[in-house]
Structure formats: C-alpha cells, structure tokens
C-alpha cells in the first residue's frame, strides 16, 4: 500500500502561492511574482506526474481494476451521522488523468505568460489569479464528494470571471466577464438544485458511495414521477445543466466566445483546456448514475451532438482567430459530451466513456497549443483578425510549425493525437446512434475546413502591411509551444483503454479502419477545400458566402442567439416580470413604509407645540392633572 496523503500538497501549493503573491505581489518586481507562481506550478506538475506514475504503474490493482483511493479526508461540516460534507482527495483513473492535464497545461501557460504578459500592467495580479485558478481546478477534479466539487466549481467560476475581466479598464472585457459569470451562475443554480435533490433522495454526497456498484441512487428516487421522469432523472438533468453551463453547451454557450476578451494565455488555460471540460468531467464522474438514467444520458448525447455541429458552422464564418478557436472548443467539447452520451457501462460497452476522456486529454494539448500559437501570432501582428494577416510563415517559423501540428491533430489526421481519440468517439457513436454518427462525420469535415481556413489565412496568402516586421516570440513563449506540440503528436499513442475506462478494468480495442478511413478522407476533403479557397487569397470564398446568402449571414451573426437572449431578457423579462416587480417594490413595499413614516411625522408635527419650553405651561398641565386625579380619588372614595 502506498501512502498518497502527500497529494493534498498538490492542492495547497497553488493556494499558498495565490495568498503570498496576492498579498505581497505589489512589493516585489513583477517578474519575482511570475517566477514564484511558475515554480509553484512546476512543483505541482512534478507531484502530479509522480502521483500518476505511482497510481497507474506501482499501485496494486484489485481484481484487475484500478482502486478508488481516498488519499486524504477531513470532515468539514457534520450535518447528520450519514450526511456530512468532507474535503479530501479522491484518486481514481479520471481524477489522476485530470491532474496531469491541468498541471501540464497550467505549467505551460505559466511559462508562456512570463513572455506574453511581460510589461503588462497587473503582471503580479495575473500570476496570483492564475494560481487561484489552478488551485480551484485541481480541487474540483480531486473532490471526494459532490459538495466539495460544487465549492471548487464556484471558485473556478470566480477565477474565470476575474481573469476574463483582467483588462478591467476595457468596457468590452468588463461586459464579457459579467456575461460569463451570470450565465454560468445561472447554470450553477441548476447544478445546486440537482445536488440538493440527489442528496435528499440518496442521503449522501460521497462519490464513492454514489457511483459504486450498489449505489443508493439506483434504488431511491425512482418511484416519484414528475412530467414523466423520475426524481433521479430530474436531478441528473439539473446536474447536467450545471455541466452544460461550464462547458458552454447550447443554449448556455453564449459566454464562451465573449470570454476571449481575457488575455490569450487565460483563454488557453481556462477556456480551452481545463475549466470548460469541467462539465464533461462532471458527467464522467457521475457516469454510473447517468447510465442508469438512460433518458438523461440521451439528452446529454443530443445536446453534445447539436452543439458540436452548431459551433462548427459558426466557426467557419468568423474572422477573429480567437473566436474561431472558441467555437472550435465548443464543438470539440460537444464531441466529448456526445461520446459520454452514447457510452455504455463496463468493458467494451464503455468505449464512449473511454473515448470521451481520451479526447479530453488530447484536446487539452492541441487546443492549448492552438490558443498559445494564436497568442504568439497576436503578439507579433497586434491584431485578432485573420483578414489583417497573411504570409506569416516566414516570420514565425516555430509558431507556424507547431500551429500546423495542432491543426492536423484537431482535424484527425494520423498519427497526430486527435485522430485516435476522435476515431474512438466515432466508433462509439456508430454502435449506438447512427444519426449522431452522421452528424459527427460532417463535423469532422467542417473542423478540418475551418482550422485550415484559419491556418491558410494567417500563414499563407498575401502579406499585409504590418506596423512593424513581425518577429518570432521569445523563448519563454516558444518553449511551451514546442512541448505542447510534442504532446499533441504523441498523446494519441497512450493506451487509454488500459488506463481510463468506465469500470476501471482494462479492455482491448483496435482501430476500426472501416470508420477511420472515411473520417480521414472527410478531413482531407475539408483541408482540400480550405486549400483551394484560402491558400491564395481569392474571391471564390466571398462568392460562396454570397451564394449561401441568409444562411451565411445567420452563421456569421452566430445564429442570433445573443439577440434572442437579449430579446428574452430585455423585452420580455424586464418588461413583464422585472418592471411589475419593481413597481410592487417601489409602490407597495416602500409605499407602506413611507406611509407609516408620513403619518408619524404628521402627528408629531401637530403635537410638537406642546413642548413649548414655557415652564409655566408645563406646571399648569401638571397641576391640572394632579387636581383632576385628586377629584377622581375623592369621588371614588366617597362612593
């Protein structure tokens, strides 16, 4: 038996770094804070790798399956004998895998930010907030119970809010941070309701009990039906609502594109690799219960599938490179959700589960790489718009090479990482739902198309007039790019079926070439179309856009979802709900109180003359009273 209790330091180090740098950051040179933060994360990275090695390769298995370990536990709130809220560290295959993902990407982003954020106002604040985020995200994945997860869930929401609003002097950044916070908060309300319903019916928060083989969730909460679904199904749907909000699933996705107002390393860390996959992680964490509630799982699959298509269509029309990447993130997370939705439980049935986690893992590498590459491009040309770029491959050779690798990886071209994970997802979808499988084939082609549209627009085509000659980024920025590019190339060869599976038992799988070859061909077709349209700047793409007419405009305007939200809130909610409520508050609630005050004021104004300051008036009143009382008593006594 190996002692894993040191893993609590994975959580404590970033917290300590946050507190120290947050309180004393203004006293030192900014670079000192940056180095403290990066070193802290480096230690966390090493600890995570060490833990993963010990967990996967040294720790004994129980009946062939990886154990679920309670490495550290501390009862925080003791509600009843059965119901208590703990804080602790839970180690199982997915949490250990997430530790690797988060610490690696976070460490890379820290190094990158040393170069990218150099000379920015608030450099120290940036690094202490990054530490806060790392702390919250690590706490989220190693949560032992759903309540601890909820606490850290809110913490990542706050740190995301703070980092999106990093340039708080810019109105658009402030608006974006508020939007992200409000939308995810609204979704978290659903999450909280789900937690309450779940813990009320099962009487526990604990993940090990809840997702174990004889979970109380399988038996309780089945009898009572509401709108045709059992209590447990409803609680799973509410929990999924929280996950959908964080993971930017349709229709709660509107905050993610705007969140790109934050600094680019933040987009890479939070809004591409780690926080936005928290929803996927949540569903995976609760997967045995979701699997038991098939109707909820069906909804997960369709929401994922629809989002992946929807986001891919929008991504084809955007010009802001970060927004293209944001929509592509949504699309890829849709893939992961879909894979979970079509998955079964146990053995080869659990292929979708494994594929989802696999894609989460590989996606973290190539999407972080894409964002960091985009950061390097923006750093070089000071623009976010791809139509103001072109021919950059000569100036940014390292960025160009790594970006190309990431594009190939996300498009699913072997041997890059994305191919393997995406292939597993397609196989899982093929065996469970042909309609979703068809959608995913289409999306695979569109992914390749929009990624190479971006790639050709930025690195090929005609050179634009730049303010100054674009130059390659410093070593602190290119080093993470190279490391992540290596990850994106080789992560696909990790045998996930042996490590991360739905029931922790390894199983055998093999690439189904009957599905893989068409998907490669579709991706190549997407790349081919992009090459024809964008390698040389030509008018063909504009003509196609013109021909598509209304559909193109709708996609370019993100299908007017933002406008729909604005219409619902401003026109309907504000007019027909908020305004009457405000009227009631102002006129009825406040009015009653004002009336009380008015009457009191009026009465006292009328009788205040009684206190005239004239001594003899008081004396007269006093003596009259005495005489009146005397007469009264005489009258009473004589009768």
């Amino acid at each position: 038996m190996i002692d894993f209790s040191y893993t609590i330091w994975i959580l404590l180090i970033p917290l300590l770094v946050f507190v120290v740098t947050g309180l004393t950051g203004h006293r030192f040179k900014p670079i000192v804070t940056g180095i403290i933060g990066t070193t802290g994360l480096g230690v966390v990275f090493l600890l995570s790798v060490y833990t993963a090695y010990k967990y996967f390769f040294v720790l004994d298995k129980v009946e062939g399956a990886f154990q679920r370990l309670l490495a550290f536990n501390f009862t925080w709130l003791h509600l009843t004998e059965k119901l208590h809220i703990d804080i602790g560290v839970l180690l199982d295959p997915i949490s250990v895998m997430m530790l690797i993902v988060i610490s690696t990407v976070s460490f890379m982003v820290h190094i990158y930010s040393l170069g990218y954020m150099r000379g920015e106002k608030g450099f120290a604040r940036f690094f202490s907030l990054l530490s806060l985020f790392s702390f919250s995200m690590l706490g989220l994945v190693i949560a032992t119970n759903i309540f601890q997860m909820y606490i850290f869930w809110e913490l990542v929401g706050v740190s995301s809010f703070l980092l999106i609003g990093f340039y708080y002097e810019k109105d658009s950044a402030v608006a974006a941070s508020k939007k992200a916070f409000i939308v995810t908060r609204f979704a978290d309300l659903g999450f909280l309701i789900g937690i309450l319903v779940l813990s009320y019916t099962t009487g526990t928060f604990d993940f090990i009990t809840l997702t174990g083989p004889d979970s109380p969730a399988f038996t309780s909460g089945q009898g009572i039906m509401f709108l045709g679904m059992s209590t447990m199904t409803w609680s799973m749907l509410f929990i999924f609502m929280g996950g959908a909000g964080k993971s930017a699933m349709f229709p709660l996705h509107i905050w993610l594109p705007d969140a790109m107002e934050g600094p680019t390393p933040v987009s890479a860390l939070i809004h591409a690799a780690t926080m936005v996959v928290a929803g996927v992680y949540l569903v995976a964490r609760m997967f045995p219960i979701f699997h038991h509630e098939q109707s909820a799982l069906e909804i997960v699959a369709w929401v994922g599938g629809f989002t992946s298509l929807f986001a891919a269509v929008i991504a084809c029309t955007q010009y802001d490179i970060k927004r293209v990447l944001a929509y592509s993130t949504m699309s890829q997370i849709g893939y992961m959700m879909l894979a979970l939705g079509v998955s079964g439980y146990g053995g080869e049935e659990g292929l979708g589960y494994m594929a989802s986690m696999f894609h989460l893992f590989t996606h973290a590498f190539f999407k972080a790489l894409l964002f960091l590459g985009a950061g390097a491009i923006i750093h070089a040309v000071h623009s976010n718009y791809m139509n103001e770029m072109g021919g950059l491959r000569k100036y940014l050779p390292i960025t160009h090479a790594t970006f190309l690798i990431a594009c190939l990886a996300i498009s699913g071209i072997p041997p890059f990482a994305g191919f393997f994970s995406k292939d597993e997802i397609l196989v899982a979808a093929f065996h469970h739902n042909k309609a979703l499988f068809a959608i995913e084939y289409l999306v695979a082609g569109m992914t390749a198309f929009y990624m190479f549209r971006l790639y050709f627009n930025v690195f090929w085509g005609k050179e634009q007039l730049y303010h100054h000659t674009p130059h390659e980024a410093p070593i602190t920025m290119t080093l993470p790019l190279i490391i992540l590019a290596i990850g994106s190339t080789f992560a696909g060869f990790i045998p996930f079926t042996k490590l991360v599976t739905s029931d922790s038992l390894p199983f055998e799988t093999h690439t189904e070439w009957g599905i893989a070859i068409p998907s490669i061909l579709i991706a190549l077709a997407g790349i081919g179309i992009a090459t024809m349209l964008y390698m040389k700047k030509s008018e063909t793409s504009k003509k196609i856009a013109m021909a598509l007419g209304g559909f193109y405009t709708a996609a370019y305007s993100k299908f007017y979802i933002d406008e729909v939200y604005l219409f619902i809130t401003k026109k309907i909610l504000f007019n027909y709900v908020s305004r009457p409520v405000a009227w009631f508050d102002r006129h009825i609630v406040d009015g009653t109180m004002n009336q009380f005050a008015y009457v009191t004021n009026l009465v006292s104004d009328k009788i205040k003359g009684f206190q005239s300051g004239q001594l003899q008036q008081y004396a007269l009143a006093f003596i009259s009273g005495v005489i009146a009382l005397a007469l009264l008593f005489i009258y009473l006594w004589t009768n």
């Binding site: 003359g609 206190q611 005239s612 300051g613 004239q614 001594l615 003899q616």
Partner: protein
C-alpha cells in the same frame, strides 16, 4: 396655647396659602417671585403638619420635627435655586421665565 382656635381656621389659612402659591407660580413671570410662591406652598404644608400634630397626637412631636426638616430643606433648595437664577441672569441678562424657552422641540 391656641385653645379654642378651631382646626378649620388653620386649614383655611393653609389652603389659601397653598393656592395663592400655586397661582403665583403659574402667573408671575419673575423667577424670584416664582421661588417665593414655592416657599408659600411649602409653608402652607408646614402649617398643616403642625396643626394636625397638635390636635390629633398632642403627646408626639413628629409633625413639629418634620416641619423643621422642611424649613431646612427649603432653605437649601432656595439657595440652589437662587444660584441657578444668578447663572441664568449672567447668561441672558434677564430673569423673565418666558424668555427661557430654548429647551423645546
């Protein structure tokens, strides 16, 4: 002593003094006069004490002693009142009670 003086003579005298005192306190505007009115009220009470003591309990002296105490306390009270009046006079150069109306709403 006072044999043959009926009790109601004392009572009429005391009541008359008491209400003269009350009247003076309510209508006179001069603080000194008001103080004198209070002395009248006190003394009317003293007369009652002495008279009742003599007639009801001739073998006891409590009424007499009580009167002595009242006189002593009244003297002390008068000195305090006059001190206050002098301070008021120094402040507003007036001892008219109607001018002293600052402590109001």
């Amino acid at each position: 002593m006072f044999e043959g003086v009926p009790i109601h003579w004392f009572l009429v005298l005391a009541t008359a003094m008491f209400f003269i005192g009350i009247y003076g306190f309510l209508v006179r505007k001069n603080l000194i006069t008001m103080l004198m009115s209070i002395e009248l009220i006190l003394n009317s009470v003293c007369i009652n004490f002495v008279a009742f003591n003599k007639i009801l309990f001739p073998e006891h002296l409590e009424g007499m002693f009580f009167t002595l105490f009242i006189i002593a306390v009244a003297a002390a009270e008068a000195s305090v009142a006059i001190a206050i009046i002098i301070n008021i006079y120094r402040r507003i150069v007036n001892i008219d009670v109607e001018k002293m109306n600052e402590m109001k709403y």
